[in-house]
Assembly symmetry: C2
Homo-oligomer: 311 residues x 2
């Protein structure tokens, strides 16, 4: 069982339109609603890979109720979300049939009161006792302290659980001090957090600030991993066409599963690249194509990273 | 008390963004949710003008519950909506802060079962007995017969209530045979329904097909009215900048109020033009600016229409 945390869980709404034309009115063809937020997507991927996954985080209001209804339909997935008085956010993704392109609108999320946050940390402390790994994913809703992830990482560490953190901006920087086992920024988040465009140099900075391992994703160029056991670059054998939004969540799922199984880094990274690539052909985050994963996995290149000399 | 019907009631969601950029992800600044659908907007305008308004129509699901919550906050407005098993649609309007322009996404609405439609027509038959005028507004949700408005017009006529119908396409054409007292197409709906670009000629065709009076709106160019008592063109003295989406609903409110009060057509049209114009400065449909209405009303031009000879 792996625990995933989604503090700003969302109801992901997808609208199919013929073409997106700004300043006009659109008749929406197909409408899909499903539970989302990065941690929920990570749990979906884990559940589909046969790992039991427990979802926790914060939900509320009518959108929260719809989100929970949807989670009930997913096998191997256990709902331990904590209810807040605000209303969970909705994301709206408009997909154009003419070019397949997606335009996304992300609401901010409900305001979370201090007592709601305390209720959550108590529940988290209880849940984390029973799991080897916890994945902490996504943005923070309004009202939470910016060091929210730092607190959760410390609680997890005290309970003996390993942590994988996927967030950006101030919540990422504030969490490093707590020593997360793996942080998984994408290249843009890494550059924004460090002010440094060189992935390896930037990743080394995050380790210097407290992260034990850094796995940086660079889209179709694959992953750079700097860990206590060495550095690697892992890349897929080909570029896949599709929707890259779920690739990061699939990567986090592979990292969490690899930590839970106690596998070695090259093996973990091979799976992470294959699972990320297998998410790209799927229209929504949280899904992956099993055949693509099987085809890509043996062809993933993993090379030892000879990092430049520290600045 | 005036009854308004919204068969495809909606939760209108408005997102404020800095600028709409297709194929990118947007952080939504402000989010507003309110009860919508044309009949609901008409009732809001009536209620604000001091007419008691009863809202009926079909609602369901979590969006339906939010919609009803919002209606409770409106003074002079009475909720007689009928619950269906499906989920009410949502509309999403994205407003760009840079230019104020709006881009709209309209969901289709819930599928309505035949027994739900029968339940509604029974309730409608009961409600319409107590009102002098009923306004029937907007699109039909999936599952309803295309002659849904024809049936409601006949039920209203049997109860002695006058009908104002604001819809387009097949539901408009199918309703004419039942003899609605007023139909209010806009210029585009009128042209689509008749295949004729000339407003007066097209309006005469709708009368020939059964409508007792036709009031055609041409945006800032005002209204053309063809009625059993004569024809008129009514126009505002100036063009107003803003959001024209609520002007049609304000016009319907003025027509319904005028019928209820038994006023003469030139007076009704003057009010309809003024109230439509007063809706334009407001960011959301269902609102109007009282000062603009007062300023415009005395300056509305109403001229007798000398229609061309019938074809």
């Amino acid at each position: 069982m792996i625990l995933t945390v989604t503090l700003n869980a969302a109801l992901d709404v997808t609208y199919g339109v013929d073409a997106l034309r700004p300043r006009t009115s659109h008749r929406v063809g197909t409408t899909h609603r499903r539970a989302g937020g990065k941690g929920v997507n990570v749990a979906r991927v884990l559940a589909a890979r046969g790992y039991g996954a427990t979802v926790t985080g914060l939900v509320g209001g009518p959108t929260g109720a719809l989100l929970r209804d949807d989670l009930r339909t997913v096998a191997n997935l256990h709902d331990e979300l904590v209810t807040v008085s605000g209303t969970s956010r909705q994301t709206v993704t408009v997909v154009s049939r003419d070019d397949g392109d997606a335009t996304v609108f992300n609401e901010r999320g409900p305001h979370v009161a201090p007592r709601e946050w305390r209720t959550f940390t108590d529940r988290f402390a209880s849940l984390v006792r029973d799991v080897p790994v916890v994945a902490l994913c996504g943005s923070l809703p309004p009202g939470l302290p910016s060091d929210a992830y730092a607190r959760l990482v410390r609680i997890a560490a005290r309970a003996g659980a390993l942590t994988v953190l996927d967030t950006g901006g101030p919540p990422l920087l504030a969490a490093l001090d707590a020593g997360p086992d793996v942080v998984k920024p994408n290249a843009a988040e890494l550059a924004a957090a460090t002010g440094c465009e060189d992935v390896v140099v930037a990743a080394r900075r995050l380790r210097a600030l407290g992260a034990r391992a850094v796995v940086a994703s660079s889209g179709p160029d694959g992953l750079h991993a700097l860990t206590p056991d060495g550095g690697w670059r892992a890349a897929p054998p080909e570029r896949l066409a599709g929707n890259p939004t779920g690739a990061g969540d699939a990567c986090v799922a592979a990292l969490a599963a690899g930590l839970a199984d106690g596998r070695r880094w090259p093996d973990v990274l091979r799976e992470a690249v294959a699972l990320s690539a297998a998410a790209v052909p799927c229209p929504v985050a949280g899904d992956f194509d099993a055949a693509t994963r099987r085809r890509i996995r043996p062809a993933v290149s993993v090379e030892v990273l000879h990092a430049p000399h520290p600045h």
